[in-house]
């Protein structure tokens, strides 16, 4: 959680300094939920994170360098400058790179799980993360139904952070609770307080374990508030002040830290040391990546097919070479 937060702060700083092309999308407010999901999964599982899953990615094993390289467009990163920011992943290692179209990753997780079943690999779980906005897409409903029909070990985590970009829940859905959507497909759903790390750890661990044990697809709906804009370009001025002051508006990182101190599980010094350690880790990653090259358009093969021999060559008129 802390590493994710510190990494976010660094990326936001680089964005404000004009060092990052494109957007920066922070996980602020969703770290407890996301980290709990990442921790409940294990190597060999499938994970399709969404925009605010910085913490879950790290907990699942994504290197800090992958995030920094993708944000800064390093050619050494997993996306090599071809895609940026949160659209990164390592599909061969079970970490699926999101496309921007919401809900679209869920059925991809389903398919990966179907493949595991064909290959008779047992005990795998696939997790997909979405927000309240994605529950309005057809893709979400098709995929949840598909997982139920195939009885796949899917854990679908819905982070209800009250806004899809600027659109509040009341303009997004009319059901009492987002858990109702799962009921329609015969999928059990649980609620979790996304601001409370302990609740998140408990519910996600239980849900993932039950799914792993053959319990079929399950959904988890977390209540939380996005503590930042949609991206760093967005000042989030539309977020209701009352919500910010409500329990939903608590910062999950602060809540967790207070608990650690209250229980005596860590003291301020230990937490300070941890923060210094992760800050150093992030700073080193950024310093490393800032020395790495971006992609070279003249070395780029401009080939979208794996079958190179079937790539079309378009003979556009090139500008005349300069003398």
């Amino acid at each position: 959680m802390l590493l994710s937060r510190v990494l976010d702060e660094k990326m936001a700083g680089l964005y404000r300094a004009g060092k990052i092309q494109g957007g920066v999308f922070l996980s602020r407010g969703q770290e407890a939920l996301s980290a709990s999901l990442g921790l409940a999964l294990r190597k060999g599982d499938i994970f399709a994170p969404l925009i605010r899953d910085g913490a879950g990615r790290l907990a699942f094993g994504e290197p800090v360098l992958d995030a920094v390289r993708t944000y800064l467009g390093s050619v050494l990163g997993p996306m090599r400058g071809r895609d940026g920011n949160v659209h990164r992943g390592r599909p061969r290692e079970g970490l699926l790179p999101m496309i921007s179209h919401l809900g679209a990753m869920i059925s991809v997780v389903n398919g990966a799980l179907m493949a595991r079943r064909f290959k008779k690999m047992e005990g795998c779980v696939g997790a997909a993360s979405v927000g309240d906005g994605a529950t309005s897409t057809g893709a979400f409903h098709e995929a949840l139904n598909q997982a139920a029909v195939e009885r796949l070990p899917l854990v679908l985590v819905v982070a209800n952070n009250q806004y899809a970009y600027s659109t509040p829940n009341r303009r997004q859905f009319a059901c009492e609770d987002l858990m109702d959507k799962a009921a329609g497909y015969g999928v059990p759903a649980r609620h979790v307080d996304g601001t409370d790390l302990e609740d998140c750890l408990r519910v996600l661990a239980m849900t993932v374990a039950q799914t792993r044990a053959g319990g079929g697809p399950q959904m988890v709906v977390a209540s939380l508030l996005r503590l930042c804009g949609h991206g760093e370009h967005d000042d989030a001025s539309y977020i209701d002040e009352e919500l910010k002051q409500s329990p939903l508006g608590r910062d999950c990182l602060k809540v967790a830290e207070e608990r650690l101190l209250r229980e005596g599980w860590a003291d301020a010094e230990a937490i300070g040391a941890l923060r210094r350690q992760v800050t150093q880790e992030v700073d080193e990653a950024v310093a490393t990546v800032q020395r790495e090259p971006g992609p070279d358009p003249y070395k780029e093969n401009w080939c979208a097919l794996s079958s190179r021999h079937l790539t079309e060559v378009f003979k556009d008129l090139e500008p005349a070479p300069q003398p």
Partner: protein
């Protein structure tokens, strides 16, 4: 003993399933029922657990195929009709087509689109969507016009590491027959001279090759020698074979069953005009379906799409230019 275009498609899928344990078929009604057109007849019984009925969820069907492909499987998706691939368009063009470019992980999926018009099928069971898919980088689009190609190209589609949109023409399903399945095939990406001639080149693909051949036969009775180029795949498009044919004939008519705006016929003419302008003795011409939804009634449908008759007329006009 003869085999139809549809039987060839079924046989290719049976062979793919038998040869490669990574292959499975997923689509609506493809299981015990054997598919709306029976292209998967008996396959669920012959390959238990590997031919799966899907819910009516084209987006999730394609999404699942992509996920399975990432995990090393080689899914064949049957869209019940090409027209119904549009609810799955997002997964095809934004997920499948971009995966390799973004991650270097290939996406070997084959999506079968029963395409094209049959009389009485109307606006939503008749479309030819190959041009739509050919527009997107990262997809291969095959348009087999013969029984032999239906078989060998489908096998090649499954073997390729890239997403393939396999446009099989419904009107050819039972009408088109061959003596036997082929034992060898041309490589994907190469067009075929379906009929040699020296007066005019007709470039066609899918069922339009058959109409073009019928037109060429009719014109032969008038002493005209029409060359017919069967594109086989529209992406990649074999410009070299087209250009060589136009170099022989000096006249180009390009025929497609899809809607007229843009598309394969426009692409072929653009390439010939740009790269082979000097080869042309007359302005290149194109013939497509009309720019309306596809009509239901046979009286309307028969003139909506190009036919051997309209191809003949267009060829005669072009020969007089």
């Amino acid at each position: 003993m003869s085999i139809t275009y549809l039987e060839a498609i079924r046989a290719a899928q049976a062979k793919a399933l038998a040869d490669d344990p990574r292959v499975f078929i997923y689509g609506q009604d493809v299981g015990a029922f054997g598919g709306a057109f029976k292209a998967t007849k008996n396959l669920a019984r012959e390959f238990p657990g590997r031919v799966l009925d899907a819910p009516i969820s084209e987006d999730a069907i394609v999404g699942a195929a992509i996920g399975a492909a990432i995990e090393g499987m080689r899914p064949i998706i049957e869209m019940q009709y090409a027209d119904f691939s549009t609810p799955g368009l997002n997964q095809i063009i934004n997920q499948a087509a971009t995966l390799f470019w973004r991650t270097q992980v290939p996406c070997p999926i084959t999506i079968r689109l029963p395409s094209g018009g049959t009389s009485g099928a109307g606006p939503f069971h008749s479309q030819s969507l190959e041009c739509l898919y050919a527009h997107y980088p990262g997809l291969i689009v095959m348009t087999p016009a013969t029984v032999e190609d239906a078989y060998s190209m489908l096998l090649e589609a499954v073997a390729l590491d890239d997403p393939v949109i396999f446009c099989e023409h419904k009107r050819l399903y039972s009408h088109l027959k061959a003596p036997a399945l082929p034992t060898e095939a041309m490589p994907v990406g190469k067009a075929r001279i379906a009929r040699a001639g020296r007066d005019l080149t007709i470039v066609a693909y899918s069922a339009m090759v058959q109409d073009a051949l019928a037109a060429a036969e009719e014109l032969a009775a008038e002493g005209l020698e029409i060359e017919v180029v069967d594109l086989r795949s529209i992406k990649p498009l074999d410009t070299d074979t087209i250009m060589a044919s136009v170099a022989r004939t000096g006249r180009l008519l390009c025929v497609g069953e899809s809607f007229p705006w843009g598309g394969v016929t426009a692409e072929v003419i653009a390439r010939v005009a740009a790269e082979g302008f000097g080869l042309l003795d007359a302005p290149p011409q194109r013939l497509n379906a009309k720019d309306t939804p596809i009509p239901f009634h046979p009286n309307l449908w028969l003139v909506h799409r190009p036919t051997a008759e309209s191809v003949c007329a267009a060829a005669r006009n072009l020969l007089e230019m």
